[in-house]
């Protein structure tokens, strides 16, 4: 590499040192250390660049710009989602499957041990005042399922057709006691959320899944299907939640 080539490369080197570890510059930087003329040129280049950046930073945006931006963001409507080919097909399959696979809800009784712990932890997670933490915020059901699959989270064997048509708030994939668990949050038309947690049945050992029940304002219904446990939690009415899941 001659000095002209080194100069071209080092022209992209930012004066704030952000590129110091970038191997693209390593050879040219080493050459600048060895060659006084090149080193002097680089020092001058960085000094002038730093001075220009500093001067440009004196341009102040309007003081109210961040507030205006944030106010504008609050008016953004949820995106109307597109259905993607393969995911659309998957959704159609799930619709059919849901009808076939969803069995009657179990009669209410208290479960204990792992199942109770799962229910307790799930409720603690979704009932946070600001809502559960999400990895992906999207209004697209298809995208939540694609993300969960990408993150190797457990997918729901079936999703009620009515929920597939609803917007989502987002999703998350996490671990619960060494088992992958997924969370998908659906937005009901009235703004309330329906949370779906999916975990392999094996995570609960030999225990039966938690039974439907109420915990304060929360309604919970559990389903077992194809080796997966699906826990639904929402602050909507028990009737509404059942109606949604049986649609």
């Amino acid at each position: 590499m001659d000095n002209n080539e080194a100069r071209v490369i080092l022209s992209a080197y930012r004066p704030n040192g952000a590129d110091a570890q970038d191997p693209t510059f390593a050879k040219a930087l080493a050459q600048a250390k060895m060659d006084p003329a090149l080193g002097e040129w680089l020092d001058g280049q960085r000094s002038v660049d730093a001075a220009l950046i500093e001067r440009l930073r004196t341009i102040e945006p309007p003081a109210d710009l961040p507030n205006l931006v944030m106010a504008g963001l609050k008016t953004v409507p949820l995106r109307r989602d597109r259905w993607f080919g393969p995911l659309s097909a998957m959704a159609a399959v799930l619709t059919v499957s849901a009808v076939v696979l969803i069995g009657p809800l179990r009669p209410s009784s208290r479960s204990s041990g792992l199942a109770a712990a799962f229910q307790r932890d799930a409720l603690a997670m979704v009932s946070l005042p600001a809502g559960p933490k999400l990895d992906l915020i999207t209004s697209s059901f298809a995208e939540t399922q694609a993300y969960i699959a990408q993150q190797q989270g457990p997918s729901a064997p079936a999703i009620p057709a009515s929920l597939q048509r609803m917007h989502t708030a987002g999703c998350r994939v996490m671990e619960w006691r060494g088992h992958r668990m997924s969370l998908t949050c659906f937005r009901l038309p009235d703004g309330r959320l329906v949370h779906l947690l999916v975990i392999p049945k094996s995570a609960l050992g030999t225990e039966l899944p938690p039974q439907p029940g109420s915990e304060g304002p929360w309604e919970m219904i559990c389903q077992e299907m194809n080796g997966m446990v699906m826990l639904w939690a929402s602050q909507t009415s028990p009737e509404n939640l059942r109606q949604i899941l049986q649609s």
């Binding site: 071209v8 022209s11 693209t24 341009i59 945006p61």
Partner: protein
């Protein structure tokens, strides 16, 4: 880090200033620059979910702002192509003392006066402090092209700044760009 949610408020706090300056360098009008900055964040809110790597957020914002600027400019037919003479000041230099005393708007004038080929890359470098990789992604050009544009563009910029400062020091005030256009 893939698939993580975007903290909109954090993104606004981190980037609104540099985005505004970049927008100002494109529009040269404060109100338009503010609008463009706001529009960029609205697009982030609407389409940010498509961004799978948060490390690319900054580049995405600058790319989006520039695209939005070009889209609006095409619509308003308000983006005239202006060619400036090049190479007439190639021998001129700009030392660090002169750079430190340069007025920010004089620097914007000098950036505007560069060949179109170099302008955007240099604006992203100086106003957005984007890396060569981020600039390459934003402009969809090879890394080597970014480097050569930055190298030659910086030469032009320094020559132009030196020239503009010479004019300022001799009390000759250059016409603002819109007046230069009007007389062109």
């Amino acid at each position: 880090m893939t698939g993580k949610s975007i903290d909109l408020e954090g993104a606004v706090a981190a980037y609104y200033q540099s985005l505004y300056r970049f927008a100002l360098s494109l529009t040269r009008q404060e109100a338009s620059a503010a609008d463009l900055t706001q529009q960029t964040f609205l697009l982030l809110a609407q389409h940010g979910h498509q961004l799978r790597e948060l490390e690319k957020l900054k580049g995405w914002l600058f790319t989006t702002l520039r695209r939005e600027f070009l889209r609006l400019a095409r619509r308003q037919n308000a983006h005239p192509e202006v060619s400036f003479e090049s190479g007439e000041h190639e021998a001129a230099t700009l030392d660090v003392t002169a750079a430190r005393s340069a007025d920010a708007h004089l620097i914007l004038d000098a950036l505007d006066a560069l060949d179109d080929t170099y302008q955007v890359a240099l604006k992203m470098y100086y106003l957005g402090e984007l890396s060569y990789r981020e600039i390459a992604d934003a402009l969809e050009i090879p890394i080597g092209t970014v480097m050569s544009r930055l190298s030659r563009g910086k030469e032009q910029l320094r020559a132009r700044l030196s020239s503009l400062q010479g004019l300022r020091d001799s009390k000759i005030i250059p016409l603002p760009p819109e007046e230069r256009l009007g007389r062109g």
